[in-house]
């Protein structure tokens, strides 16, 4: 794929960080349509940007012809978002604690920690085609 494709409540992008803004526009647009308050929209948008960035850079190793998808749904008062890539997954338990004194000044390594702090739940799954992260937030 060479450009973002929107199908219903899913956006798929090539693995290039230049498309982060396309995903943000899509997700924030849907959340505003659901009249979610701006603070929660920001929390969700930050989290999605972290997950999509990770999927592009770490999951798909920035290989443009591999895609990253984000799907947004509602389950009652919960917003549920899945971010998938075509990578081989990772173990969240292997991520170093970014607020430990030794790691505080590191330039990277905070993404998942931020997502876990902002969302009500975060689940990681390895599928037959790549990895999938599901986040949920009560709106």
């Amino acid at each position: 794929m060479d450009k973002p494709v929107i199908t219903g409540n899913t956006i798929a992008i090539p693995s290039d960080v230049e498309h982060l803004a396309d995903v943000d526009l899509f997700i924030e647009g849907i959340l505003r349509g659901w009249e979610v308050d701006e603070s929660r929209i920001a929390d969700i948008a930050i989290s999605v940007s972290e997950l999509v960035n990770n999927a592009i850079c770490h999951g798909n190793k920035s290989t443009r012809d591999k895609k990253v998808s984000a799907t947004i749904d509602r389950e009652g008062s919960l917003v549920v978002i899945n971010v998938t890539d075509e990578g081989t997954g990772f173990s969240p338990e292997n991520i170093e604690n970014p607020i430990a004194d030794d790691n505080l000044m590191k330039e990277v390594g905070r993404g998942i920690f931020i997502v876990q702090s902002l969302m009500d739940s975060v689940d990681f799954e390895l599928t037959s085609t790549g990895s999938k992260v599901t986040i949920k937030k009560d709106i």
Binding site: I46, E50, V108
Partner: protein
Amino acid sequence: MKLSSKEQAGVVILEPKGKIMGGPDASLLHDKLHECIDSSQNQIIIDLAQVDWMNSTGLGILISSYTTLRNNGGHLKLANVTDKIKSLLTITKLVSVFEAFDSVDEAVASFK
């Protein structure tokens, strides 16, 4: 993200606007900060008044610039930190790293 800059009392003030999430926007801020550092302008304020939010990429740029400036005898300070970014700095404990001021004028005065 858009980025403008100005100078006040010998201090460079960078004014990003929008969201700092990675990709081209993050490169813009990173490159501008390092352009200032390379030209020995080592007293820098980032005015965050018009930044909707930033993610870990934005925080990484702030840390990189803070460290580079400090190693060159300079300082990076923040002004007009919004509640959303303040919350992110608190979550990540970076609130203890960055000096933050309620206005650009206060931040500029702190360099004297």
